[in-house]
Amino acid sequence: MRRLRRRSYSAPAWGALATLAVGSASADTPAPPDTSGWKCAQCPFLQGAEGQVEAGVQYATGANASYGRYTGLDRSGAYVDAGSSGQFRRSDGTYVNYNLESLGLPSREGYANAGQEGLYDLRIIYDGQPSRLYDTAVTPYQGIGNGVLALPANWVNAGSTAGMAQLRSSLSPLDLGFDRSTVSVLGKLFASPRWTLFGEFQRQEKEGTDLTSASFLTQAVQLPQPIDYVTNSIDAGAAWSGHAASLRFTYTGSWFDDDSDSLTFANPYLPIVPGSTQGQLAQPPGNTLQQLAATGTLLLPWFGTSLSFTASIGRLLQNQAFLPISTLPGSGLLTPGSLNGDVHLSHYALGLASRPLSKLTVHGSAAYDGRDDETTPLSVDYIVTDTFAGGTAVTPRYSEDRVRLDGGADYALLSWVRLGIGGEYQSTHYGPGQVLTWLQDNTSWGRASIIPLDSLTFTLKGGDGLRKTSSFDIAALPAGENPLVRDSNFAPREQVFYSLTGAWSPTATFTASLEGYFANDDYPLSQLGLRSEHERRISSTLTWAPRDSLSFYMDAGYQSLYGLQYGYVGPAAAPWQIADSERFWNAGVGGKWVASQRWTLSVDGLHAPSYDTTNSVIGGLTQSFPQNGSQLDSLHFTATYSRNAALQFNIRYSFEKYDMNDWALGGVTPSTVPNLLGMGLQPYHHNVSLFALTVRYKLGPSTASAPK
C-alpha cells in the first residue's frame, strides 16, 4: 500500500515529464484525408520532353595558365561555349535527364540519368578538371614523358649553375599542369519499399606534367615529372529503411595505379663521386584500399532520441616492386623485392541526439579511429642521393589509435535567450617507436544566443583548449634531431577562442550579418619550433532586395594570421625567430535587375588583396623579407535578352586582374641559385578580358501539361 501510494503521488509529475518528453513529437496529426478527389489537374507536371541548347563563342585577351588554371581558358583567343540540358518524362514514370556544360573547354562536364520513378535510377557523370600549374617553366631536360630525362648532348657539367655553359642555350619552355578527368557510373535499384541496392564505379585519370625535384647531395635540380595516374573505385551496397531505423552496408574498393614507377634524370653537375651521373626518383606506387562499412540510425521512442552508428574496417595494401637501391654502378636490390605494405584501418562511431525537455537538446558522439600498420619493418642499406652509402636504417612504421568524444547541450532559457555548452575530448595513442606514447586534446566552449528583437540575433561563443602529451621520448627522435624541438603536431598547446555572429533582418527584403572571430594558440613548452599562432577575423554581408526584380549585395571580410617560431642557434645563444603575418581582405558588391520581361542584367565586382610579411630575428637583429601577397580585382557583367519564351541571348563580359608577389619565385632563374638548377617558375599574373555571346534555344513545351 505504501509503495502504491508513492507511485500514485508521483504519477502526475512523471506523467508531466513524460508528456514534455514526447510533446514535441506528438503533434496534432489529423486523420489522412480522402485524396481520391485530389486530381492535381492544375499541376504543371512535365509530360514529354523539354530541353535547351546553348551555343556561342567566348573570346579572351591576356589569358594564360594563371587565369585558366582550373577552367582551361589558358590562352588568348576564341573558345566555343556550348552546353545543353533536357529532360523527358513518360506517364509510366520513366524519365531521362541530361546536362552538358562548358563543352568547348577542358573543364567540360555533364551527366545523363535515366530511370523509372520508384524502381531504378542510372546515372553517368563526366567531369573534366584542368590544373594549369605554370606556363613560365623552362628546362634543359629532354625526353619528358618517357620517364628518363636526358640533357642535351653538348651539355657541360659543372659544379654550379653558373658554370653550366650550355644552360641558357639548352632551355626549352614547357607547360606544367595536368588534366584530371572523372567518369562515374551509378545505379540504384529500389528493390522494395524498404530495400535499395546501389553501386557506383568511378574512374579518375590524371595525366600531364607536374613539378618535382631531387638532388645529388647538396646540388639540387627541379624536374618535370610526367604523371599518368588512374584510380578505379567501386562503392556498392544495400540500404534498408524502416519506420524507425535504417541500415546501410557498403563495400568500397579503390585501386590506384601509376603508369610509371620511376623518374630517371641525368646529373647536370659534376659528379661528386665517380659514376654518379644520374639519379632516380620513385614515383608513387600503386595501392589498394578496401573497406566494409555498416551505418545505421535508430529513432528511439523517448525524448525524440536518435542514435546513429558507423562501423568500418579496411585494409590499405601496397606491394609494388622496389627500384634498385641506387643508379650507382654495382648497386644491388633490396630484399624482399617489395614492401608488402599492409595497413589496417578501423572506424567505429556512435552518435546520439535527444530532446529530453522541449527546451533542452543534447547531442554527443564517440568515435574510435585505428590505423594499424602491420607492414614488416625492413632494414635497408641505403645510398644517399645516388652518391654514396649512407648506412643501414630500419623503415619506421606508424600506428595510432584515436578516441574522440564530443558533445553539447542547448537550453532555451527564455524565448529570447538560448544557452549552450559543449566540448570535445580527443585521445591519441601512438604505436611503438614514436616520440609520444599519447596525446590528449580537450576543448570546451559555451555560447549564448540572444534574440533581443524578432529581427535581430546575436550569438557569442567562447572556449578554450588544452593539448597535453606524454613525455617526449628523445631516443625515438631521428638521428641528429634537436631534442629541444617539439613537432608542432606533438607539442602541448593552450588555446582560447571567441566568436560573435549576428544577423539583422529589419524587413523581409534586407538582411545584414556580421561575424567576428578571435583565437590564440600558444605552445608554452616548445623551446624550439612553433611558439604561437593567432587568428583575427571579421566579415559582414548585406543583402537588399527592394523588389522581386531587383537585388543587391555587399560583402567584406578581413582575416589576420600570425605565427611565431623559434630555431636553434647554439647552446648559449638566443634562438632565431621567424614571425609571419598574413592579412587578407575581400570586398564584393553586385546586383541583379530584371529590367523587363526581355532584359535581365547582373553585375558583380570583387577586390581581394592579401599581404604576407615575414620577419627574421637573429641575435637581436630584425630583417624583413620582401612582402609577399596577391591582389585580385574582377568585374563580371551579364545581360540576358529574351526574344521570346524560346530564344534567349546572353552577353557576358568579365575583367579579371591578378598580381602576385612571391620572393621564393620572383626573379629566380634556372641559374640564380648556384646549387639549384631551377625551372624559372614565376608568380602568377594575369590581366584578362573575356567576352562571351551565346544563344540559348528552348525546345519542347514551354508550359508543361498536367498528367492524364
Binding site: 514535441s24 478527389g37 485530389w38 639540387a220 522541449s358 642521393t385 634531431e481 560583402d555 601577397g629 639549384l676
Partner: protein, 308 residues
C-alpha cells in the same frame, strides 16, 4: 501530503522547463484543403512556386514522393491547409512555412523534412553541427526552385559561404581548391547532413577524405613521414592559403616547426638568401622540397630522407 506537494512542484517545474505541450491544446485537429494542390495553385501559381514541378519532390509517378498516388501533395510538407483556405490566405493557420525567416520554428520545420529523409539521406543529421546550431533545412535548400542551387557545384559555394564567411575569404587566397571556379563543391569533402567523421567529412578521417582524390599519397610507403600518415591538416590548410600547395606555413619554415637537427635543418634563413644576396636553395623555389621532394613518403629503397 508533502509527497503530493513535491509531485506538484515537480510537475510545475517540468512545465516551466518545457512549456505547455501541444497535447493540452483543445483545438480540433486541423483539416486538409478540399482539393489538395489544385486548391493551393488557385492562389500560389507564380513561377517561384511552380518551379517545384521540375524537381524530385513533385513527380506524379514516384510512389515515395508527396505527389505520388495518394500523396498529400503540397500539404505533405506544409501541413493541413484547410483553415488557411477557409481564411482565404493570410495567417498560416497551423500550416508550416520554411526558411530562416519563417514563422515556423526551425525544429518543427526540420522535423517535417526529416520525417521522410532522416532514415536515408540525413541519417546523421541529429548529431550534425547544423542541427546543433538550429539551422533550418530550408536555409540551404531551395525546394521550389527548378534547380536547387545547393545541389550544383558552381552555385553551392554561395549558399555555404553565406554563413561560413571565413571560407568565403579563403576562396580568394593565392592557393585554393577549385571551388571558386565551380570545379569542386563543399560537399566534395563535407557532409552537411552530418557524419561520424571529424568536421563532418564524407570519409572517416581527414586522410581518407583527401586521398579519395589524391590517391597517389595514400601509401603505405617504404619510408613514411609521420605527420603525413597522421593527418594531412598537419601541413595543409584545405580551405585556402597564402602559401603554395595550401601549406599552413611556407617552406622552409614549415619544416622547421618540427626539424631543428644539427646541420641545415636548423639554419636561420634570412633575406640574405634571396636573389641579390647569396641565393639559397634552402629558401628559394621549393625550399626544403628542392631536395626532399618525397615529403608524402617514398617507396625508393634509398628514400630514407625522402629525397628519392
Amino acid at each position: 501530503m508533502p509527497r503530493l506537494r513535491r509531485a506538484g512542484v515537480l510537475a510545475a517545474f517540468a512545465l516551466l522547463l518545457g512549456g505547455v505541450p501541444p497535447v493540452f491544446s483543445a483545438d480540433a485537429p486541423p483539416a486538409y484543403s478540399p482539393q489538395g494542390a489544385d486548391t493551393c495553385l488557385g492562389c500560389h501559381n507564380d513561377a517561384t512556386t511552380t518551379g517545384i514541378f521540375r524537381t524530385k519532390h513533385a513527380r506524379p509517378d514516384d510512389p515515395h514522393g508527396p505527389f505520388g498516388h495518394g500523396g498529400l501533395q503540397c500539404e505533405a510538407c506544409h501541413g493541413p491547409g484547410g483553415a488557411h483556405v477557409r481564411a482565404q490566405g493570410g495567417p498560416l493557420a497551423g500550416m508550416l512555412d520554411f526558411g530562416p525567416k519563417a514563422l515556423t520554428p526551425v525544429p518543427r520545420q526540420n522535423a517535417q523534412c526529416l520525417s521522410c529523409h532522416q532514415l536515408n539521406t540525413a541519417h546523421d543529421w541529429a548529431i550534425s553541427a547544423h542541427a546543433a546550431n538550429n539551422v533550418a533545412c530550408a536555409s540551404c535548400h531551395t525546394l521550389h526552385a527548378a534547380q536547387d542551387p545547393v545541389l550544383t557545384a558552381a552555385t553551392q559555394i554561395d549558399v555555404c559561404t553565406g554563413c561560413h564567411q571565413a571560407q568565403h575569404t579563403d576562396l580568394f587566397k593565392p592557393s585554393h581548391h577549385p571551388l571558386r571556379e565551380g570545379k569542386m563543391a563543399c560537399t566534395s569533402c563535407h557532409s552537411p547532413h552530418g557524419s561520424t567523421g571529424p568536421a563532418q567529412l564524407i570519409k572517416n578521417t581527414v586522410n581518407e577524405t583527401c586521398t579519395s582524390c589524391h590517391a597517389e599519397f595514400r601509401g603505405p610507403f617504404l619510408w613514411e613521414h609521420q605527420p603525413v600518415t597522421e593527418n594531412c591538416d598537419n601541413c595543409h590548410q584545405p580551405h585556402g592559403s597564402a602559401q603554395p600547395a595550401l601549406l599552413t606555413i611556407r617552406t622552409p619554415f614549415l619544416c622547421q616547426t618540427c626539424h631543428e637537427g644539427a646541420g641545415h635543418p636548423s639554419i636561420a634563413n634570412t633575406p640574405q638568401g634571396l636573389p641579390g644576396g647569396m641565393p639559397s636553395a634552402y629558401l628559394l623555389s621549393g625550399g626544403c622540397i628542392n631536395c626532399h621532394s618525397q615529403v608524402h613518403g617514398s617507396n625508393h629503397p634509398s628514400g630514407r630522407a625522402l629525397m628519392r
